[in-house]
Amino acid sequence: MPNDSRDKILRRIREALTTAAPARHRAQSTEPTHPATDWLPSVPPDPAARLAQFEQNCAALKTELILCTDEGALATALAGLAKENAWESLATHDFEMGRQPVAALNLPTLRTDQPYEVPDLERCDVGISGCDALISQTGGILVTATSAGGRALSVLPPHHVVIASADQLVGDLSDAFAVLREKYGTIPAFASFITGPSRTGDIERILVLGAHGPKKLTVLLLWKE
């Protein structure tokens, strides 16, 4: 193994920093009175308005959002998706909200929270997972290995279905980080914000969905009135 240049680089950095940056680099940057996130798109405090913002963002991102008023409706919606998309196999993990509706589909099932083989997951028609939070400001979904059955379940199958509940909807990324800290006491080794189905604009800047990750993203949101 080649030798590490840590000390050399640190020495160069410290030498460089003996000269202070000109005041103008800093003067234009200081804004001590507000948290920086105040300047981002605003997030309404009221839950119903937040839901409306989340819905609007999902529509723009082409994320399919299905609101379910109770557990029964959620199971029906999931069964509807299975039929509509002609799923023949699915991958999932054990999580409370998904347990019954997924079992009710009665399809060949791969569990990714137990040791599994990647090619088996690649062959599944859909990955069904939970999440840690939904973000109304961006229309995003926060997943970790614990909440979403590992690192690959939410990105390898061509369709990703997220099952979430109303209390998981938060305002912005900062709130989502707070959820992680509270839930795990630390930020886990893997966390990802998913904001819409996989996309690319690399050919003539024209939007195509499903570049490498899921072509479809569906959120089933349990929202009891």
Binding site: R24, R26, Q28, A60, S198, D202, I203, G213
Partner: protein, 467 residues
């Protein structure tokens, strides 16, 4: 003139005359302007967001040693191996050694401009590994054996027809004529590659010192797959990518998306803080983070331009630059194109060889205005010009200005010269831009107005006489 400068002038000249190329690039950017402005207008205050983003990067860069050590400690605590590389060769050698040590044969790479900077792909191929780019744009330019055209949109200069030809020729795929069909061809090829690869290589958009995570921003999902499926993962991170706090990402991630691609948020923003942890069922079992200097500390030592290290590589300055829009990305001959490339390349690769980029600017300031972290780009171009000239003065400039001063202090000289211009004007017109014209570099691309029938002085005199 350096060979880099000759190449630049030749390519720039050819491309500015290529109207098809120009209109294609400008049409592609038209959609970006629209979406960027829509997203910016949703911000409560874009200007204050910029100031705050700048403050976060200022803090990181001006305490770089502290934050890099914090980052390293936190990464190592979760079982990540951190390697500090002084230059590109050290980084490539280390990654090749890791690959050999782990018996790696196939490597899948997600987009990393830092990797382009140190020519990592070719170095690993030379070491006997198969290296495949997974980002669609990068994959296309890799097949065509071209350099990326733009730091964010590597294949934006290619039409679907050209991409179709490349795919047919290199992949043997059936002819396709929509971006969707072409994307699906690449998707099919790449799916196999992800599952077969033993090693994934990624870059990083940010590295969070507080929690010990790298953050990767992407739209396609290729970086998530490349960092999840292979058993060994290496992330190449420029030392300037560090930010102090996780909270900084709550601001920087949306701003990167808006400035870079006119999005509210990029599709996948992934935090990676370690290899597979106890209780996890997937993810790499080995995770290496390579922290790369490669003359970033030289730029750091130039306090005046230190804020160029605040750059988050969003590409916004390229997209608004009148030079970029006319000459395109390849003419620069650099890893980083556009204004930011013109500013930092002289620091990374030598001022005298790359100073011509700083001179090729109208100094309009569009870049500075577009920059989400408020880098004073167009003044840095001026400072590069000043530094280049004071380091290596142009011998004939001083005598010319002395002569000019001599002339301007003596009115009788220019009273005599003005009528001369009227007499010799037609001669100057006849030779304009040709080999006999001593001022051809200037006059070759500019109009020479005809000398007026009488000078202002004469006009003023006659006006007085009439009164």
């Amino acid at each position: 003139m350096s060979t880099q400068s000759q190449q630049f002038h030749r390519d720039a000249d050819r491309l500015t005359h290529d109207l098809t190329h120009r209109s294609f690039i400008q049409r592609a950017l038209g959609g970006y302007y629209l979406k960027r402005d829509q997203e910016k207008s949703r911000y409560t205050d874009w200007q204050r967001a910029r100031a705050s983003a700048s403050a976060a990067k200022y803090e990181a860069i001006n305490h770089l040693d502290k934050y890099l050590l914090e980052l390293t400690g936190k990464l190592e605590a979760r079982g990540t191996k951190v390697f500090w590389a002084a230059d590109g060769e050290e980084a490539s050698d280390y990654i090749a050694a890791v690959a050999r040590g782990a018996g790696v044969r196939r490597i899948i790479k997600s987009k990393t401009m830092t990797g382009e900077e140190i020519h990592l792909g070719p170095a690993l191929e030379k070491a006997g590994m198969e290296v495949v780019e997974s980002d669609l744009g990068e994959f296309i330019v890799q097949l065509r054996e071209e350099a990326p055209y733009h730091i964010v949109f590597p294949s934006m200069h290619l039409t679907r027809g050209q991409i179709n030809e490349t795919f047919q020729e290199k992949l043997g795929s059936p002819s396709a004529d929509t971006p969707e069909e072409l994307t699906m061809i690449a998707r099919g090829v790449m799916r196999k590659k992800y599952c077969e690869a033993d090693m994934g290589i990624s870059g990083a958009n940010f590295a969070v010192a507080e929690t010990g995570h790298i953050s990767i921003t992407e739209n396609e999902g290729n970086a998530r797959l490349s960092t999840t499926l292979p058993r060994v993962l290496v992330s190449l991170v420029g030392i300037e990518k560090v930010v102090p706090k996780l909270e900084d990402l709550a601001l920087l991630l949306p701003m990167l998306a808006t400035a870079g691609a006119g999005q509210n948020m990029t599709c996948y923003n992934t935090l990676l803080g370690g290899p597979r942890q106890p209780g996890e069922t997937d993810g790499p079992t080995e995770f290496h983070v390579v922290l790369l200097d490669n003359r970033r500390t030289t730029l750091l030592a130039d306090a005046e331009q230190r804020d160029a290290l605040h750059c988050i590589r969003c590409g916004a300055c390229l997209n608004v630059c009148p030079i970029f829009k006319n000459i395109g990305g390849h003419a620069y001959g650099t890893t980083y194109q556009g204004p930011i490339g013109s500013v930092i390349t002289p620091h990374l690769r030598g001022l005298q060889s790359w100073k011509h980029l700083s001179f090729s600017s109208s100094l309009c300031g569009a870049c500075t205005e577009a920059c989400p972290v408020k880098i004073d780009l167009h003044h840095h171009l001026l400072q590069n010009r000043r530094n280049a000239i004071s380091q290596k003065p142009v011998w004939w400039e001083k005598p010319i200005f002395l002569g000019f001063a001599f002339f301007m202090r003596r009115p009788f000289l220019y009273r005599f010269a003005a009528p001369m211009l009227r007499i010799f004007g037609p001669v100057l017109h006849a030779i304009r831009g040709q080999i006999f014209d001593p001022a051809r570099l200037w006059t070759g691309t500019r109009d020479l107005p005809p000398a007026p029938a009488r000078s202002f002085k004469e006009f003023w005199k006659s006006r007085d006489a009439k009164r």
